[in-house]
Amino acid sequence: MAQLQLYFQKFLTNVQKGIWPYVATLAHILLGTLLVYISPRSTFAFLTLVTSFFSLYYLKANSRFKLITGIALALIIIPILGVRNIFYLEIIFQISVFAALALGLNIIVGFAGLLVLGYVAFYAVGAYLWGFFGSQQYYVMPFAPGTQPANLPFLLPGDTFYLFLMLAIIAAALTGILIGLPVMRLRGDYLAIVTLGFGEVIRVLANNLDKPVNLTNGPQGITPIQRPTLPGFVLDGFNGLFGGIVGHPVDQASLYNVMFYILALIIIIVIVFVTKNLEDAKVGRAWAAIREDETAAVAMGIPIVKMKLMAFAIGASFAGAMGALVAASRTFVSPESFSFMQSIGVLSMVILGGLGSIPGVILGAATVVILNLQILQGFSLYLSQLRQSDAVIPIINFAWRNLSAQLDPAKYQRLLFGTILVLMMIFRPDGLIPAARRKRKLLLEESESEVEE
């Protein structure tokens, strides 16, 4: 075992030298691409492809090489493989959505140290903003849900979506400030409960604002919501360029998936850029000071309220943008998508990846989404197959057929989130990829304890 570990360590150090990082990265990407191309339904192949992002991130290489390879992987390889099996594109889209949410929450919880449990409220603001203006809801207002006449016109053309993407950012940031203002004075644990309350308030409002004026269409949700138009030449161009590789003509619906994936990617890149710059800017250092010791931060002359509100506003704005994007992509919003469980799901992504660590949070989002959509669902499928078979558990003589049909692992997300939170807090509170600042602190603590020994 120790021998194996030695080899592994040797491999890890050697692979970072010379041209090996380039070879390893390209080999990983190529392997993933080939695997997914040959067997589009295999989970293993998909995971190989997705993890190639991480070898791209970790292996030491020229940054220009990383950029070009990354762009090729994200903009060419994944869309082409994605339209061959739309489910994977959906997973990657969900990963990007949740990564954006987790990055936003990371600013509030990880950077500023304010535990917010109602984060999806901001997501809901963005989603309902485009949900209202991008659908017929304006004309549905006088009618109770389900009673509106058919053939109502749309309020705005679909292309105003891009304008509303910006407006959603502003609206969510304003909501963040509004929610943040009254709770500024509260200490951490109270803040958590109050924001949880705000999250529930927004959900209940979305559920019940179908009267006196029908704003949200109640529990049924708003549908259809428009998408921005996809010009015909894009479709023709895509088919002309990649039709041969894909193997079948791509229809507009699939290409819409590609478009939303690319939009989500652009938002993520902007968010990462903003977050990275904020982290080491004056604001980021002020947040760190507040997080570590509020009293000391006040003494140093940091404007606490302003900084905390900024964390709220910036964190919320990311969620607002993603909300609008998801509303357009799904063409549907309903209060159900904004439950407390979603907030905790995002929190568990942040905790799993590492508070305050940008690559960590993205890894956390990817892991949780894949666990949720692939592993749990695969397990569900396996169980239902077992249920239909004649198999029997040998020792206790239990026939799989008698297993309750209610037992569907895909529905046990709470178990997943809860386990992640508890285990991470007990065994690795700094997350899978600890933030640089925390890493420094960890090293310091270790050397201190060595001195004591």
């Binding site: 309350g197 529930e200 709470r414 386990t419 807090m425 007990i426």
Partner: protein, 391 residues
């Protein structure tokens, strides 16, 4: 025997009873007055006219006639909240930590009690018991719920909170949220594997569903019966007994003294020879026992339970604890009663006063609004000292 009675601190037994009565009466009088004044003010407006059209009675009489029932319902749910709030407040007093999983401990208590009763029902026992036996069985079910919830609370503390003692404040809180989620799905998993369904119904037996009717009052074309169901009485009596017992335990026994000492200053308490870990476990045990009993009582009152049954009562009980001043036992009683009353009042009258624009559906967020207002204007709560700003 004589010595035993002498050793009982009568003052500590009577004091919480007195407080309960004062709080109940006080909040009842204040809220009734507010509602009646509002009704009088709105009587001549469109609101009053709408009520007149529907019930053929003025808004004021409508409000007045419904008042006794609202008060009884509010009191019942208020006592349940108070019992759950005590669990939060006990733990907070000792550890300064919000035990987020307390709502699931409440739910586990409810499930254990209800499952035992359902098992007895399918065995055919419940249908032929006498009235006295029915009460004995109910008490046994409550005790079983208490034991299960208490054991669970202690286990959770041992596994998920104790390793994190001394970590930054948010760490145990996040762990507690995780435990809460984990337990919700564990209940679902166990129920799914054993019974195949998640919603359980409290079986009907004994005379708990009966209503003692005081009288009928005519309201325009309809008549409204005023009464209190036996189960409401059971809930109130059970909750009062628990609250008094807890108050006695904390304020008049040696163990209670140790609990208070640990709450005040942990290191010094341990220097005085108090086993701090044991006292903390005991605090969780007591909180869990109360939560479990409250769970079974809740199931008795509202009949239907599901694995997420604890979420809203838990949050409201927490609100109640904060409202009364968290860490303060009397405050939790007051907060529970006031919140239960406020919520029932809002649920019953808001719909009428706003002409159906905002009704019972906003009942659940009503508690949050109160929580937010309390935290903004009086963060130390109604009865708490000013500690909540301590960083």
């Amino acid at each position: 025997m004589k010595r035993f009675f002498k050793s009982i601190n009568v003052r500590e037994l009577l004091l919480p009873l007195g407080q309960l009565i004062v709080f109940s009466l006080g909040s009842a009088v204040v809220l009734s007055a507010i509602v009646l004044i509002l009704a009088l003010a709105l009587d001549k407006t469109t609101v009053g006219l709408a009520v007149m059209e529907r019930f053929n009675a003025s808004l004021f009489t409508y409000t007045l006639i419904n008042l006794p029932q609202v008060l009884i319902d509010g009191l019942t749910i208020g006592f349940v909240y108070a019992a759950v709030a005590l669990g939060y407040t006990m733990v907070y007093g000792v550890l300064e930590f919000i035990n987020f999983a307390h709502s699931e401990i409440f739910a586990v208590g409810a499930f254990v009690g209800v499952e035992i009763l359902i098992a007895l029902e399918t065995a055919g026992v419940l249908s032929r018991v006498s009235l006295g036996m029915a009460f004995v069985i109910l008490i046994l079910a409550i005790l079983a719920g208490m034991v299960a919830a208490g054991a669970l609370a202690v286990t959770v503390e041992r596994v998920a909170y104790r390793p994190l003692r001394g970590a930054p404040r948010l760490v145990p809180l996040i762990s507690a949220i995780g435990v809460s989620f984990l337990l919700q799905d564990l209940i679902r998993l166990v129920e799914g594997l054993t019974t195949g369904q998640f919603n359980r119904i409290f079986p009907t037996f004994g005379n708990f569903d009966q209503r003692l009717v005081f009288g009928e009052v005519g309201l325009g074309a309809t008549t409204i019966t005023m009464g209190i169901s036996i189960k409401s009485i059971i809930v109130i009596v059970g909750a009062v007994l628990m609250l008094v017992a807890l108050n006695y335990l904390v304020n008049a026994t040696k163990v209670g003294k140790a609990i208070r000492a640990v709450a005040q200053d942990r290191p010094t308490a341990s220097l005085m020879g108090i086993n701090v870990n044991r006292i903390i476990s005991l605090t969780f045990l007591v909180g869990g026992l109360l939560g479990g009993a409250a769970g079974v009582l809740y199931a008795l009152k509202f009949t239907r339970i599901d694995p997420f049954v604890g979420f809203f009562p838990g949050l409201k009980a927490f609100t109640a604890a904060v409202m009364g001043g968290i860490g303060n036992l009397t405050g939790a009683l007051l907060g529970g009663i006031v919140l239960g009353m406020l919520e029932t009042f809002a649920g019953s009258y808001m719909g009428v006063f706003t002409m159906g624009v905002a009704g019972t559906e906003y009942k659940d967020i009503f508690a949050f609004t109160i929580l937010i207002l309390v935290l903004i204007f009086r963060p130390q709560g109604l009865m708490g000292e000013n500690v909540s700003q301590k960083a």
